[in-house]
Symmetry: C2
DNA sequence: GTGAAAGCGCTAACAG
DNA sequence: CTGTTAGCGCTTTCAC
């Protein structure tokens, strides 16, 4: 019914969409004025703006962002690189980024690296070719990353998410205090009476966060006069290996608690433990890290060091946006946020953590 | 060290990157030839191609995709709209899409709709402004979608993922047979001895798949002379409500099995059941739908109607790409795939499904 | 094989 | 306030 009604006769149907020139013509103004009506309406007489908008609506005008991005030499696009979306941590983070970016009139372009530095390089290059104005990245290892060095060299603005820039680093990052929060988590385990605590982690190579969290574990153990044990590093980052868990959980000096460096891993470990006939937390406690929503859904609820994932995404985007507009007067009394943002974490205990048998 | 070394003196450092004009100049050829060297090397003498490539390398030339997309009137970008990434189904699907698209030289632009038709409209408009060549979409309700109608009207190519186009529809879709597979799943429950089976679903409004799967349940029940019961629709799509589950699971005619229209929901329901003191599958069975990786990770493993999520993503992209190049000779003997692709599902039983007590 | 020239749709000086 | 004029970086006829 409305099929042909909402299209002006002056506009060829499928052939070509109306451009700003068409709008200008229809409104009886110049191309420049039409452009201004959209981008700086303050510079145009109100009635003219209305005329342009009306013409645009009439012609079903849809601005071609490719044109403006090219001309403006600014894409208003943010490149996002995450290791994977199949770990809900990053999916939750994405939501924060999408909300923050679109609200600010920016577009997002997402790629995943699968924790693979070679692929990180490729994907970043791909983003660069799209002329993103900047990026939000989670890399395998921020302290040893060829691609980050390259970005620094080229002067491309980026903000790390989850990766925690080293103190004094010139890099920007938004994360929790990985080491400190992990230490707190393990200390909660110790406070609950645990002495033999082991860490289960994804491949250390693939995640500097995992290493930092292990360091936190070591801090906690030493601070309480306990001997830290070697971590069990599982090759795949998200699934676990019943065999290795079995070896670890057996024996006379078997641990009474596991600290897993991420929640997905923790859920896998708990299942392995159950398969070995162990009850969690009755026979053995498990503490995760990430605080993904799923953890609160399972029974018993997964104890975890909770990061504000969505907020990490929002803040990372906000920080990047702030880098784009360095002019803006900083909030006067509130201290200007440094390059390194450490967001507060929380501990979710109970559930899979209890006192040792 | 390499800071200034890898940049030609002729190229201003941070000021401006080398463009194709610079490359052409450095190689002593025209702009046109330089362009051809990249896009149609067959049209250029081999030695010339080499010269251009060499110059490009020397200048660290990085093609500006914005320029080529604008000029070529073809963005080689695919817009992707998914309800959320926080359900692993869609995250797994994304991986398939990313692999397929990048391999074919296409870029992806992702947006999420949060199952909200109003937001679907906004996000689609946003994709259109970016001049995506086409889209892969999962909408709330494919049979009643204003935005899909609009796309049809405008002649924008798109492929539905997960949504199953109605038989005879002109729309393209890649999914499993939602109704048929659900029926099979429920029949497996019946075969295991269950008679009182209830469906737990997310909000029907938000997912046509959920409704189709419920229809499959009804088919199965009726085919076996059983009375289908009303579904329990939970307002939030991924979490569950212990209170309603309690009401449902109690009483003399309490169901012996639940069929949940997605895995995340199933995991929530299982937790609720446990909190009510019920053991799964000993006291009550639970069957999910989706086959997310997580389901195989929990203990007992989540029984589920398994869809090939990654493949759905790959195939949806492949189908869209095929629509872009309608010329290509179709595979001769293999029947040309119709608009509606139904991928095979599998049943993963055991785990949370057992014979009734 | 290669080059010259004409824009894709839009923004941003610079004049009035 | 509004119009004129140049391009952004690239592809693509159309000649040679």
């Amino acid at each position: 019914m409305k099929r042909n009604q909402d299209r002006s006769p002056s506009m060829p149907d499928a052939a070509g969409a109306a451009t700003l020139v068409d709008v200008a013509q229809a409104a009886g103004v110049s191309l420049a004025t039409a452009s201004r009506a959209f981008n700086s309406p303050a510079l145009v007489r109100e009635s003219t703006v209305q005329r342009v908008l009306e013409a645009a609506r009439h012609l079903s005008f849809r601005p071609n962002l490719l044109g403006s991005k090219l001309r403006a030499q600014q894409s208003r696009m943010i490149g996002v690189m995450l290791p994977t979306l199949e770990n809900a941590v990053f999916a939750e983070c994405w939501r924060g980024m999408e909300d923050a970016a679109l609200a600010a009139g920016y577009s997002l372009m997402l790629v995943t690296s699968a924790y693979d530095p070679a692929r990180e390089r490729e994907r970043i290059e791909y983003l660069l070719r799209h002329r993103v104005d900047g990026m939000v990245l989670t890399v395998a290892d921020a302290a040893d990353s060829a691609v980050l060095d390259q970005l620094d060299r080229e002067g491309v603005p980026y903000v790390l998410a989850y990766n925690q820039a080293a103190t004094g680093s010139r890099r920007h990052s938004v994360s929790v205090d990985n080491r400190g929060s992990a230490r707190e988590g393990v200390e909660a385990l110790i406070a609950a009476g645990h002495r033999r605590i082991r860490v289960v982690s994804g491949a250390f190579m693939a995640s500097d966060r995992a290493r930092q969290r292990f360091d936190g574990y070591r801090d906690a153990m030493r601070a309480h006069g306990l001997a830290p044990a070697e971590p069990l590093c599982l090759p795949t980052h998200t699934a676990s290996n019943a065999g290795q868990i079995r070896a670890l959980a057996a024996g006379p000096d078997a641990p009474t608690a596991f600290f897993c460096t991420n929640d997905l891993l923790a859920i896998g470990v708990i299942s392995d433990l159950k398969r070995l006939g162990l009850r969690v937390p009755r026979d053995i406690s498990v503490l995760g890290y990430d605080g993904i929503a799923l953890g609160a859904l399972v029974e018993p609820a997964l104890a975890s060091v909770v990061q504000p994932n969505t907020e990490i995404g929002e803040r990372a985007v906000a920080r990047l946006l702030a880098r784009f507009a360095p002019s803006r007067a900083k909030p006067p009394d509130d201290a200007a946020p440094g390059r390194i943002t450490l967001l507060p974490h929380t501990l979710r205990l109970g559930g899979t953590v209890a006192a040792p048998a």
